[in-house]
């Protein structure tokens, strides 16, 4: 079944949609202040406190209980730091505070992905060209075929396996994404360029590996194997969690893809429309939203990527009403439903599609 978006908004609707959504944006952006800063600082304290508690239990404890609780606390710290703090700060959501600790250009997060590379492929490529096949390299992450419009290749037969590997090693996938290794395989990139492009990634890998697998194990050397294992598990849990949340952003049933021509002469209203059609939300409690870095409000995030994310829940009803007004589907469902349909696509598109749809992307 094709998920290609075929309906463009009339010029009047695109202009009106733009006005409506800009008004929602302004209503929040004009009221930014102390409570937004208080929120992100509370999150920073929470992540730090959790990391200190977790690492202390892992390093100083001897029993399985402190091991399990310590791993959970450290994984929790890494999840909050990566999702609610790192991702959002690096989007520039708190640049208006002029606080250097909350500055998008200065922030570096706790995973193997270099912040500079991430800002390029995520802030620029993915948020500008969302779901445009051939331009948004986040669609399928160049190793998965998630729609009929992507050309099939025998490589995709095993994509349930590639999917599982990506889930476990998600930070590595994200970290290496900006290098564009697929162009090396296609012969479109030289070894020299590949090595040049990999340099920031390698630097960040060294830093992260040293921290989690040398520095902290050595700090409590009598417990080194325990610390090493615990840190590995915490990174693994964070990987699985961020993979699951992020895959529910643009791949669930109902999200649509676009062709390169769709972004030609696109107005801001058209761009809003593409974000609405290409993104999906996950329903959940406030705690769940925080742990997802508010990417459970992927639709609102894609409309307003530089709005402090903890405000998304407050504008979601307005966005949903605007969608209804213009007859645009607002894709929201439970985590089980959203992730279930993602997994369904992973299996379905492993096999070639019936030739009913145009091929829009080679990989």
């Amino acid at each position: 079944m094709s998920t290609l978006n075929r309906k463009r908004l009339s010029r009047e609707d695109a202009a009106a949609l733009q006005t409506d959504l800009d008004a929602v944006r302004d209503s929040v952006m004009n009221t930014l202040g102390e409570k937004d800063v208080a929120h992100i600082r509370r999150m920073i304290r929470r992540a730090r406190g959790s990391a200190i508690a977790g690492r202390a239990m892992i390093g100083l404890g001897f029993d399985p209980v402190t091991f399990v609780v310590g791993v959970a606390a450290l994984a929790h710290a890494k999840i909050v730091e990566n999702m609610e703090i790192g991702h959002n700060v690096m989007h520039g959501q708190y640049d208006w505070t002029n606080d250097p600790a909350l500055n998008s250009q200065r922030y570096e997060w706790d995973n193997v992905c270099d912040a500079g590379m991430w800002r390029h492929f995520h802030n620029y490529e993915h948020h500008t060209y969302t779901n445009i096949l051939g331009k948004d390299r986040d669609f399928g992450y160049t190793i998965l075929r998630m729609s009929d419009e992507q050309k099939w290749h025998p490589f995709f037969l095993f994509q349930p396996v590639w999917n599982a590997i990506l889930a476990l090693a998600f930070e590595w996938g994200v970290g290496g994404h900006d290098i564009g290794a697929e162009r090396l395989l296609d012969g479109k990139m030289s070894w020299k360029e590949f090595k040049e492009r990999s340099r920031p990634f390698h630097k960040k890998i060294r830093k992260q590996l040293f921290k989690d697998y040398v520095l902290f194990p050595l700090l409590t050397f009598w417990n080194a194997p325990r610390v090493l294992l615990a840190n590995l598990l915490a990174n693994l849990i964070r990987n699985l969690w961020s993979y699951a949340i992020i895959f529910c952003g643009h791949f669930p049933e109902g999200t649509q893809v676009f062709s390169e021509a769709d972004s030609d002469n696109e107005t801001r209203g058209d761009w809003y429309y593409r974000q609405l059609c290409g993104s999906a939300n996950i329903e959940g409690s406030r705690a769940f939203h925080v742990l997802s870095g508010h990417l459970s409000h992927q639709i609102e995030h894609h409309l307003f990527p530089d709005m402090p994310a903890h405000r998304y829940a407050e504008i979601a009803p307005q966005v949903q009403a605007i969608c209804a007004k213009y007859g645009i589907a607002y894709n929201t469902a439970s985590f089980a439903r959203q992730y279930g349909t993602v997994l369904g696509k992973v299996f379905r598109h492993a096999l070639p599609s019936r030739r009913t749809t145009p091929v829009l992307a080679e990989t």
Partner: protein
């Protein structure tokens, strides 16, 4: 006694090792500062934090704050200014104020703040900054300092322009007490009336037992805004004096023009408050490539980079916007810029520049 070279170098090495990125997050300064602040809000590894220990009304709209900084404060020279950062409804704002205390008295600073009609920071300082509050300061900065040689001096100030002058006077008095030859000093000060005169008592006390210091006051409420000739009638030998000038920009412009007409500009030292010219009349529109955000924007002729970048939708960090606080420091990969305050031209290559006071003199590449 031999100099202890080795221990110093060891200490240097040790402190560099402690800052190594490999030790992260154990040496995360932001995290450690937050923890230290829980114990004592003045403590910090990296920031100069100061506690307000006194407030004193100087005139109806001017307050003097007494601050006790932590050990990160490295002292200052009389005439210098300091950046103070206030967080107002979640947003950090930085402003610059002259220090008007005696630099020889350690551990106690005074800033004097005049309430500005629409001034976000000056109003906040007046209304919110209480005894016991903590503020963040920058390092002392500025070249409005006394020459080492002791010739006759003219200190020329208007309104709150008196604030750096008081510090200069304290240092001059210290020089006299230390046995230097007495310098002939005239302070010419312009203010609305006696009630509007900042530091009237302090200056009077200094002059009481200091015969070489002469005070000339001009009250504009009764005598009108002074023309330079009339103001300087009391100091006929002004052209032979090293002159220090500070006050509102219109006042400073009059005096500067007067000095320029007589060809004695090199005897004049200036301390500007607020609006220095941050736009040149000359120059060409330039194209600026932003390496990080992969954007290109153009600046209008003679315009500073910061407003041009903001107009293009970029959000570089900034503070004072007048070339003082260095918050907007940005790495330039290539191209030439001119400093709008000093007129200095940069080189063509890798350099750190301040966006708020730099205007392109060629196409540029910046790391924004």
């Amino acid at each position: 006694m031999p100099t202890p070279v080795l221990p110093l170098r060891l200490r240097d090495h040790a402190s560099r090792m402690l800052r190594s990125p490999l030790l992260h997050p154990l040496n995360d300064a932001d995290a450690i500062n937050d923890l230290l602040a829980l114990a004592n809000p003045r403590w910090s590894l990296t920031e100069i934090r100061a506690e307000v220990v006194g407030r004193e009304q100087q005139t109806a709209d001017t307050l003097r704050f007494w601050l006790r900084p932590n050990r990160r404060w490295k002292g200052f020279r009389a005439g210098q200014h300091v950046a103070i950062t206030a967080e107002i409804d979640g947003v950090r704002h930085t402003r610059v104020y002259s220090l008007s205390c005696d630099p020889a008295v350690p551990g106690l600073l005074t800033l004097t703040v005049k309430r500005q009609a629409d001034g976000r920071v000056s109003n906040w300082l007046h209304d919110q900054l209480r005894v016991g509050s903590i503020v963040t300061l920058g390092d002392a900065d500025g070249d409005f300092v006394l020459p080492t040689h002791g010739g006759p001096l003219l200190l020329l100030s208007a309104g709150s322009g008196i604030t750096p002058m008081l510090a200069l006077l304290y240092e001059l008095r210290a020089r006299v007490r230390a046995g230097d030859t007495e310098q002939d000093i005239v302070l010419v000060h312009v203010c609305r009336d006696a009630g509007d005169q900042i530091f009237a008592n302090e200056v009077r006390e200094l002059a009481a037992d200091w015969p070489a210091l002469r005070i000339e006051t001009w009250h504009s409420a009764s005598r009108g805004r002074p023309a330079p000739d009339a103001l300087l009638a009391a100091v006929p030998d002004y052209a032979t004096r090293d002159t220090f000038l500070c006050g509102p920009s219109a006042f400073m412009a009059d005096i500067e023009a007067h000095w320029a007409d007589r060809g004695i500009t090199e005897r004049l030292r200036l301390e500007r408050f607020g609006a220095a010219p941050r736009r040149l009349e000359t120059g060409d529109a330039s194209e600026v490539r932003c390496a990080r955000s992969e954007r290109i924007f153009t600046t209008e002729a003679g315009e500073a980079l910061l407003p041009a970048a903001e107009r293009a939708g970029l959000k570089p960090a900034y503070g004072c916007r007048i070339g003082v606080c260095r918050t907007c420091l940005c790495h330039k990969r290539g191209g030439t810029v001119e400093n709008l305050v000093t007129g200095e031209r940069s080189g063509n290559g890798d350099e750190w520049i301040r966006l708020c006071v730099s205007t392109p003199r060629s196409d540029l590449e910046l790391e924004i």
